[in-house]
Protein backbone atom coordinates (compact mmCIF):
# COMPACT_ATOMS: atom_id res chain seq x y z
CA UNK A 1 0.00 0.00 0.00
CA UNK A 2 2.85 2.37 0.93
CA UNK A 3 4.61 1.48 -2.35
CA UNK A 4 1.42 2.35 -4.25
CA UNK A 5 1.40 5.71 -2.47
CA UNK A 6 4.98 6.45 -3.49
CA UNK A 7 4.22 5.62 -7.15
CA UNK A 8 1.23 7.97 -7.22
CA UNK A 9 1.79 10.90 -9.58
CA UNK A 10 2.11 14.20 -7.76
CA UNK A 11 0.21 17.22 -9.09
CA UNK A 12 2.31 19.73 -7.11
CA UNK A 13 4.21 20.94 -10.25
CA UNK A 14 0.97 22.20 -11.86
CA UNK A 15 0.01 23.95 -8.62
CA UNK A 16 3.47 25.56 -8.54
CA UNK A 17 2.95 26.77 -12.13
CA UNK A 18 -0.31 28.45 -11.09
CA UNK A 19 1.52 30.15 -8.22
CA UNK A 20 4.23 31.30 -10.66
CA UNK A 21 1.60 32.78 -13.00
CA UNK A 22 -0.08 34.52 -10.10
CA UNK A 23 3.26 35.85 -8.91
CA UNK A 24 4.12 37.16 -12.38
CA UNK A 25 0.75 38.82 -12.75
CA UNK A 26 1.09 40.42 -9.34
CA UNK A 27 4.70 41.53 -9.85
CA UNK A 28 3.69 43.26 -13.10
CA UNK A 29 0.82 44.99 -11.34
CA UNK A 30 3.12 46.26 -8.58
CA UNK A 31 5.71 47.55 -11.04
CA UNK A 32 3.13 49.36 -13.14
CA UNK A 33 0.97 50.85 -10.42
CA UNK A 34 3.07 51.36 -7.29
CA UNK A 35 3.99 54.97 -8.08
CA UNK A 36 0.42 56.18 -8.72
CA UNK A 37 -0.82 54.29 -5.69
CA UNK A 38 1.85 55.79 -3.44
CA UNK A 39 1.16 59.30 -4.69
CA UNK A 40 -2.58 58.87 -4.19
CA UNK A 41 -1.96 57.55 -0.68
CA UNK A 42 0.36 60.46 0.11
CA UNK A 43 -2.27 63.04 -0.81
CA UNK A 44 -4.98 61.04 0.91
CA UNK A 45 -3.33 60.74 4.30
CA UNK A 46 -0.80 63.58 4.17
CA UNK A 47 2.13 61.56 5.46
CA UNK A 48 4.92 59.87 3.50
CA UNK A 49 5.36 57.25 6.22
CA UNK A 50 1.68 56.44 6.46
CA UNK A 51 1.37 56.42 2.67
CA UNK A 52 4.12 53.79 2.62
CA UNK A 53 2.26 51.80 5.25
CA UNK A 54 -1.04 52.05 3.35
CA UNK A 55 0.49 51.02 0.05
CA UNK A 56 2.21 47.99 1.54
CA UNK A 57 -0.95 46.91 3.33
CA UNK A 58 -2.95 47.46 0.12
CA UNK A 59 -0.68 45.30 -1.98
CA UNK A 60 -0.67 42.63 0.70
CA UNK A 61 -4.45 42.48 0.66
CA UNK A 62 -4.45 42.60 -3.12
CA UNK A 63 -2.10 39.60 -3.23
CA UNK A 64 -4.42 37.61 -0.99
CA UNK A 65 -7.49 38.53 -3.07
CA UNK A 66 -5.86 38.56 -6.52
CA UNK A 67 -8.08 35.79 -7.84
CA UNK A 68 -11.09 38.04 -7.36
CA UNK A 69 -9.70 40.59 -9.87
CA UNK A 70 -11.19 39.38 -13.15
CA UNK A 71 -10.09 42.17 -15.50
CA UNK A 72 -6.54 43.47 -15.39
CA UNK A 73 -7.64 46.88 -16.69
CA UNK A 74 -9.68 47.33 -13.51
CA UNK A 75 -6.58 46.79 -11.35
CA UNK A 76 -5.89 50.44 -10.57
CA UNK A 77 -9.40 51.30 -9.40
CA UNK A 78 -9.50 48.01 -7.45
CA UNK A 79 -6.28 48.91 -5.64
CA UNK A 80 -7.49 52.44 -4.95
CA UNK A 81 -10.67 51.04 -3.40
CA UNK A 82 -8.66 48.71 -1.15
CA UNK A 83 -6.38 51.57 -0.15
CA UNK A 84 -9.27 53.87 0.71
CA UNK A 85 -10.76 51.17 2.87
CA UNK A 86 -7.42 50.67 4.64
CA UNK A 87 -7.06 54.40 5.21
CA UNK A 88 -10.54 54.53 6.73
CA UNK A 89 -9.72 51.58 8.98
CA UNK A 90 -6.38 53.07 10.08
CA UNK A 91 -7.83 56.53 10.58
CA UNK A 92 -10.53 55.11 12.84
CA UNK A 93 -7.93 53.33 14.96
CA UNK A 94 -5.35 56.07 15.28
CA UNK A 95 -5.61 59.51 16.81
CA UNK A 96 -5.79 62.32 14.20
CA UNK A 97 -2.16 63.23 15.03
CA UNK A 98 -1.02 60.29 12.93
CA UNK A 99 -2.92 61.36 9.85
CA UNK A 100 -2.71 65.15 10.00
CA UNK A 101 -0.86 66.70 7.09
CA UNK A 102 2.87 66.81 7.67
CA UNK A 103 5.01 69.42 6.05
CA UNK A 104 7.61 67.29 4.24
CA UNK A 105 8.26 70.12 1.86
CA UNK A 106 11.76 70.76 3.18
CA UNK A 107 12.71 67.27 2.03
CA UNK A 108 10.36 66.70 -0.88
CA UNK A 109 10.85 70.08 -2.47
CA UNK A 110 14.52 70.55 -1.71
CA UNK A 111 15.42 70.39 -5.38
CA UNK A 112 12.27 71.99 -6.83
CA UNK A 113 11.40 75.59 -7.55
CA UNK A 114 9.43 77.78 -5.18
CA UNK A 115 6.42 77.84 -7.52
CA UNK A 116 6.01 74.10 -7.16
CA UNK A 117 6.54 74.40 -3.41
CA UNK A 118 3.77 76.99 -3.25
CA UNK A 119 1.44 74.84 -5.31
CA UNK A 120 2.10 71.78 -3.15
CA UNK A 121 1.40 73.86 -0.08
CA UNK A 122 -1.85 75.09 -1.64
CA UNK A 123 -2.91 71.54 -2.52
CA UNK A 124 -2.21 70.46 1.06
CA UNK A 125 -4.48 73.24 2.32
CA UNK A 126 -7.32 72.22 -0.01
CA UNK A 127 -10.32 70.52 1.61
CA UNK A 128 -10.02 66.71 1.27
CA UNK A 129 -13.36 66.59 -0.58
CA UNK A 130 -11.85 68.75 -3.32
CA UNK A 131 -8.33 67.37 -3.26
CA UNK A 132 -9.23 63.71 -3.59
CA UNK A 133 -11.13 63.88 -6.92
CA UNK A 134 -8.37 66.10 -8.32
CA UNK A 135 -5.68 63.61 -7.36
CA UNK A 136 -7.69 60.73 -8.81
CA UNK A 137 -8.11 62.65 -12.06
CA UNK A 138 -4.57 63.99 -12.49
CA UNK A 139 -2.45 61.29 -10.80
CA UNK A 140 -4.76 58.36 -11.38
CA UNK A 141 -5.95 59.36 -14.84
CA UNK A 142 -9.54 58.42 -14.00
CA UNK A 143 -12.56 59.87 -15.79
CA UNK A 144 -15.37 61.67 -13.99
CA UNK A 145 -17.51 58.53 -14.13
CA UNK A 146 -14.71 56.38 -12.71
CA UNK A 147 -14.05 58.87 -9.92
CA UNK A 148 -17.75 58.88 -9.09
CA UNK A 149 -17.65 55.08 -8.80
CA UNK A 150 -14.57 55.08 -6.56
CA UNK A 151 -15.87 57.81 -4.26
CA UNK A 152 -19.48 56.65 -4.34
CA UNK A 153 -20.70 60.03 -5.55
CA UNK A 154 -22.75 61.08 -8.53
CA UNK A 155 -20.95 62.44 -11.59
CA UNK A 156 -22.28 65.99 -11.15
CA UNK A 157 -20.90 66.17 -7.63
CA UNK A 158 -17.50 65.03 -8.88
CA UNK A 159 -17.59 67.69 -11.63
CA UNK A 160 -18.45 70.38 -9.11
CA UNK A 161 -15.63 69.36 -6.78
CA UNK A 162 -13.09 69.28 -9.62
CA UNK A 163 -14.22 72.73 -10.71
CA UNK A 164 -13.93 74.11 -7.18
CA UNK A 165 -10.53 72.49 -6.63
CA UNK A 166 -8.97 74.05 -9.72
CA UNK A 167 -10.77 77.35 -9.12
CA UNK A 168 -9.42 77.60 -5.56
CA UNK A 169 -5.89 76.59 -6.52
CA UNK A 170 -5.85 78.98 -9.49
CA UNK A 171 -6.93 81.83 -7.21
CA UNK A 172 -4.26 81.01 -4.62
CA UNK A 173 -1.53 80.87 -7.25
CA UNK A 174 -2.78 84.05 -8.89
CA UNK A 175 -2.90 85.86 -5.54
CA UNK A 176 0.66 84.74 -4.79
CA UNK A 177 1.82 86.08 -8.15
CA UNK A 178 0.27 89.54 -7.68
Amino acid sequence: MIKKLLRKKSTVPSVSKDIDKKQQRFDTMVRELHADLYRYAYWLCGSAAQADDLVQETFLRAWRALDSLKEQKAAKSWLITILRRENARLYERYTPEFVELEDNSSQVDAEHNTEQYALRHAIKQLEPDYREPLVLQIVGGFSGEEIAGILNLNVNTVSTRLFRARNKLKKIVHDDDT
Binding site: L5, V12, V30, R39, A48, D53, Q56, L60, Q107, L119
Partner: protein, 246 residues
Protein backbone atom coordinates in the same frame (compact mmCIF):
# COMPACT_ATOMS: atom_id res chain seq x y z
CA UNK B 1 -21.72 75.53 -25.72
CA UNK B 2 -22.02 78.91 -24.02
CA UNK B 3 -19.05 80.70 -22.42
CA UNK B 4 -20.08 79.90 -18.87
CA UNK B 5 -20.44 76.19 -19.58
CA UNK B 6 -17.14 76.20 -21.48
CA UNK B 7 -15.31 77.84 -18.60
CA UNK B 8 -16.80 75.33 -16.20
CA UNK B 9 -15.67 72.49 -18.44
CA UNK B 10 -12.14 73.96 -18.63
CA UNK B 11 -11.93 73.95 -14.85
CA UNK B 12 -13.46 70.50 -14.49
CA UNK B 13 -11.38 68.82 -17.18
CA UNK B 14 -9.24 70.98 -19.48
CA UNK B 15 -8.47 67.89 -21.59
CA UNK B 16 -12.11 67.07 -22.18
CA UNK B 17 -12.87 65.14 -25.38
CA UNK B 18 -16.46 66.38 -25.43
CA UNK B 19 -17.34 67.30 -29.04
CA UNK B 20 -18.98 70.62 -28.13
CA UNK B 21 -15.96 71.58 -26.02
CA UNK B 22 -13.52 70.83 -28.84
CA UNK B 23 -15.70 72.68 -31.36
CA UNK B 24 -15.76 75.74 -29.10
CA UNK B 25 -11.94 75.69 -28.94
CA UNK B 26 -11.80 75.62 -32.76
CA UNK B 27 -14.31 78.42 -33.23
CA UNK B 28 -13.18 80.87 -30.55
CA UNK B 29 -9.70 82.19 -29.88
CA UNK B 30 -10.65 83.23 -26.34
CA UNK B 31 -11.95 79.71 -25.66
CA UNK B 32 -8.81 78.12 -27.11
CA UNK B 33 -6.62 80.45 -25.01
CA UNK B 34 -8.52 79.58 -21.83
CA UNK B 35 -8.25 75.86 -22.56
CA UNK B 36 -4.51 76.23 -23.21
CA UNK B 37 -4.08 78.21 -20.00
CA UNK B 38 -5.88 75.56 -17.94
CA UNK B 39 -3.95 72.76 -19.62
CA UNK B 40 -0.70 74.54 -18.72
CA UNK B 41 -1.98 74.90 -15.15
CA UNK B 42 -2.77 71.20 -15.11
CA UNK B 43 0.83 70.46 -16.09
CA UNK B 44 1.92 72.44 -13.03
CA UNK B 45 -0.57 70.56 -10.88
CA UNK B 46 0.66 67.24 -12.22
CA UNK B 47 4.26 68.15 -11.42
CA UNK B 48 3.26 69.22 -7.91
CA UNK B 49 1.16 66.12 -7.25
CA UNK B 50 3.86 63.74 -8.48
CA UNK B 51 5.79 63.61 -5.21
CA UNK B 52 8.92 61.44 -5.22
CA UNK B 53 8.32 57.75 -4.64
CA UNK B 54 10.60 55.95 -2.14
CA UNK B 55 13.70 54.43 -3.71
CA UNK B 56 13.63 50.77 -4.79
CA UNK B 57 9.98 50.80 -3.82
CA UNK B 58 8.91 47.92 -6.03
CA UNK B 59 11.52 45.66 -4.47
CA UNK B 60 10.45 46.69 -1.00
CA UNK B 61 6.79 45.98 -1.70
CA UNK B 62 7.48 42.64 -3.35
CA UNK B 63 9.84 41.49 -0.59
CA UNK B 64 7.08 42.14 1.93
CA UNK B 65 4.66 40.08 -0.14
CA UNK B 66 7.08 37.22 -0.81
CA UNK B 67 7.59 36.80 2.92
CA UNK B 68 3.84 36.15 3.12
CA UNK B 69 4.10 33.13 0.79
CA UNK B 70 3.79 29.74 2.42
CA UNK B 71 5.07 26.41 1.15
CA UNK B 72 2.63 24.87 -1.30
CA UNK B 73 1.43 21.56 0.06
CA UNK B 74 0.18 18.75 -2.15
CA UNK B 75 -3.42 19.56 -3.14
CA UNK B 76 -6.29 17.74 -1.46
CA UNK B 77 -7.03 14.42 -3.07
CA UNK B 78 -9.54 11.69 -2.58
CA UNK B 79 -7.90 10.19 0.48
CA UNK B 80 -7.57 6.51 0.74
CA UNK B 81 -8.20 5.54 4.35
CA UNK B 82 -4.62 4.29 4.55
CA UNK B 83 -3.30 7.81 3.84
CA UNK B 84 -4.99 9.35 6.87
CA UNK B 85 -2.00 8.76 9.17
CA UNK B 86 0.51 10.20 6.66
CA UNK B 87 -1.73 13.24 6.11
CA UNK B 88 -2.01 13.94 9.82
CA UNK B 89 1.78 13.81 10.20
CA UNK B 90 2.22 16.30 7.33
CA UNK B 91 -0.46 18.54 8.85
CA UNK B 92 1.29 18.36 12.19
CA UNK B 93 4.58 19.60 10.69
CA UNK B 94 2.72 22.37 8.84
CA UNK B 95 1.07 23.59 12.04
CA UNK B 96 4.44 23.42 13.81
CA UNK B 97 6.14 25.61 11.21
CA UNK B 98 3.31 28.15 11.29
CA UNK B 99 4.47 29.08 14.79
CA UNK B 100 8.21 29.08 14.24
CA UNK B 101 10.33 30.89 11.70
CA UNK B 102 12.17 28.71 9.22
CA UNK B 103 15.60 29.76 8.01
CA UNK B 104 14.07 30.93 4.70
CA UNK B 105 11.52 33.18 6.42
CA UNK B 106 14.19 34.65 8.74
CA UNK B 107 16.16 35.71 5.68
CA UNK B 108 13.08 37.43 4.29
CA UNK B 109 12.57 39.26 7.59
CA UNK B 110 16.20 40.36 7.55
CA UNK B 111 15.70 41.76 4.04
CA UNK B 112 12.65 43.63 5.25
CA UNK B 113 14.61 45.09 8.16
CA UNK B 114 17.14 46.53 5.70
CA UNK B 115 14.32 47.74 3.45
CA UNK B 116 12.79 49.65 6.36
CA UNK B 117 16.10 51.12 7.52
CA UNK B 118 16.97 54.46 6.00
CA UNK B 119 13.84 55.22 3.98
CA UNK B 120 12.72 58.04 6.24
CA UNK B 121 12.81 61.56 4.85
CA UNK B 122 15.65 63.10 6.83
CA UNK B 123 19.06 64.52 6.00
CA UNK B 124 21.81 63.23 8.27
CA UNK B 125 25.43 64.26 8.14
CA UNK B 126 28.39 63.79 10.42
CA UNK B 127 31.88 65.19 10.54
CA UNK B 128 34.54 63.70 12.79
CA UNK B 129 34.55 65.33 16.20
CA UNK B 130 31.23 67.10 15.54
CA UNK B 131 27.74 66.26 16.76
CA UNK B 132 25.40 64.51 14.36
CA UNK B 133 23.45 66.93 12.12
CA UNK B 134 19.85 66.02 11.39
CA UNK B 135 17.56 68.07 9.10
CA UNK B 136 14.02 67.73 7.84
CA UNK B 137 12.43 66.20 10.95
CA UNK B 138 11.73 66.97 14.57
CA UNK B 139 12.19 64.81 17.63
CA UNK B 140 9.20 62.62 18.37
CA UNK B 141 7.52 62.73 21.78
CA UNK B 142 7.51 59.69 24.02
CA UNK B 143 3.74 59.98 24.14
CA UNK B 144 3.68 59.28 20.41
CA UNK B 145 6.19 56.46 20.77
CA UNK B 146 4.13 54.79 23.45
CA UNK B 147 0.98 55.16 21.36
CA UNK B 148 2.75 53.08 18.73
CA UNK B 149 3.93 50.46 21.24
CA UNK B 150 0.57 50.55 23.00
CA UNK B 151 -1.04 48.62 20.14
CA UNK B 152 0.95 45.61 21.36
CA UNK B 153 0.53 46.22 25.11
CA UNK B 154 4.12 47.44 25.36
CA UNK B 155 5.60 50.73 26.51
CA UNK B 156 8.90 52.46 27.09
CA UNK B 157 9.37 53.44 30.72
CA UNK B 158 12.63 55.37 30.44
CA UNK B 159 14.46 57.51 27.93
CA UNK B 160 16.19 55.50 25.18
CA UNK B 161 17.64 58.49 23.30
CA UNK B 162 16.54 61.06 20.74
CA UNK B 163 13.88 59.44 18.56
CA UNK B 164 13.20 61.13 15.22
CA UNK B 165 10.72 58.75 13.66
CA UNK B 166 8.03 56.39 14.88
CA UNK B 167 5.43 54.48 12.88
CA UNK B 168 3.41 51.30 13.03
CA UNK B 169 4.86 49.96 9.78
CA UNK B 170 3.93 46.70 8.16
CA UNK B 171 6.82 44.34 8.85
CA UNK B 172 6.71 40.71 7.73
CA UNK B 173 3.11 41.15 6.72
CA UNK B 174 1.68 42.66 9.90
CA UNK B 175 2.05 45.84 11.90
CA UNK B 176 4.97 46.39 14.19
CA UNK B 177 6.85 49.43 15.47
CA UNK B 178 9.56 51.25 13.57
CA UNK B 179 11.78 53.76 15.42
CA UNK B 180 14.73 55.80 14.25
CA UNK B 181 17.08 56.94 17.01
CA UNK B 182 20.04 59.29 16.73
CA UNK B 183 23.36 57.60 17.42
CA UNK B 184 26.62 59.51 17.68
CA UNK B 185 27.71 59.13 14.06
CA UNK B 186 24.54 58.01 12.31
CA UNK B 187 20.91 56.96 12.74
CA UNK B 188 19.87 53.66 14.23
CA UNK B 189 16.72 51.82 13.14
CA UNK B 190 14.78 49.75 15.64
CA UNK B 191 12.04 47.42 14.47
CA UNK B 192 9.73 45.66 16.91
CA UNK B 193 8.04 42.70 15.20
CA UNK B 194 5.41 41.47 17.69
CA UNK B 195 4.01 38.58 15.61
CA UNK B 196 7.32 36.85 14.86
CA UNK B 197 9.21 34.64 17.30
CA UNK B 198 12.76 33.58 16.57
CA UNK B 199 14.63 30.96 18.48
CA UNK B 200 17.92 32.76 18.88
CA UNK B 201 19.65 36.05 18.10
CA UNK B 202 21.28 36.51 14.74
CA UNK B 203 23.48 39.03 13.00
CA UNK B 204 22.24 41.55 10.44
CA UNK B 205 24.77 42.77 7.92
CA UNK B 206 24.95 44.26 4.42
CA UNK B 207 27.40 46.59 2.68
CA UNK B 208 26.06 49.65 4.50
CA UNK B 209 24.46 48.60 7.76
CA UNK B 210 25.04 46.18 10.60
CA UNK B 211 23.08 45.05 13.63
CA UNK B 212 21.27 42.23 15.36
CA UNK B 213 17.91 40.57 15.40
CA UNK B 214 16.95 38.89 18.68
CA UNK B 215 14.02 37.54 20.65
CA UNK B 216 12.18 39.91 22.96
CA UNK B 217 9.88 38.89 25.80
CA UNK B 218 7.06 39.03 23.25
CA UNK B 219 8.01 39.02 19.60
CA UNK B 220 11.30 40.02 18.02
CA UNK B 221 13.52 43.10 17.96
CA UNK B 222 15.85 44.20 15.20
CA UNK B 223 18.39 46.98 15.62
CA UNK B 224 20.48 48.13 12.67
CA UNK B 225 22.46 51.21 11.73
CA UNK B 226 25.63 52.79 10.44
CA UNK B 227 26.77 53.75 13.92
CA UNK B 228 27.77 50.25 15.00
CA UNK B 229 29.45 51.55 18.16
CA UNK B 230 26.14 52.66 19.56
CA UNK B 231 24.07 49.62 18.63
CA UNK B 232 24.80 47.74 21.85
CA UNK B 233 24.10 50.85 23.94
CA UNK B 234 20.77 51.43 22.19
CA UNK B 235 19.85 47.76 22.57
CA UNK B 236 20.59 47.85 26.30
CA UNK B 237 18.65 51.08 26.87
CA UNK B 238 15.73 49.77 24.82
CA UNK B 239 15.46 46.38 26.54
CA UNK B 240 15.89 47.96 29.99
CA UNK B 241 13.14 50.44 29.19
CA UNK B 242 10.47 48.37 27.47
CA UNK B 243 7.81 46.44 29.36
CA UNK B 244 4.69 44.53 28.39
CA UNK B 245 1.40 44.40 30.19
CA UNK B 246 -0.90 41.35 29.98
Amino acid sequence: MDDLEFRRQCYTDPYSDDAAFIEKCHNSKEAADLAAEMQAFDKQLEAALNVPVPEQYTDKILSGIHSENITVLAPKKRYHPALALAASIVLGFFIFFQFTVSHYELDDIKQEVFAHAGHEAMHVSHEAGQPLKIAGVQRVSYEKINQAFGLFNAKLNTDIGDVYYVNNCVIAGKKGVHLVIAGKTGMITVLYIPHVDIEDKDILSNSLLAGHIFPAKKGTMAIVGEDTEQLEAVKTRLMDSISWSA
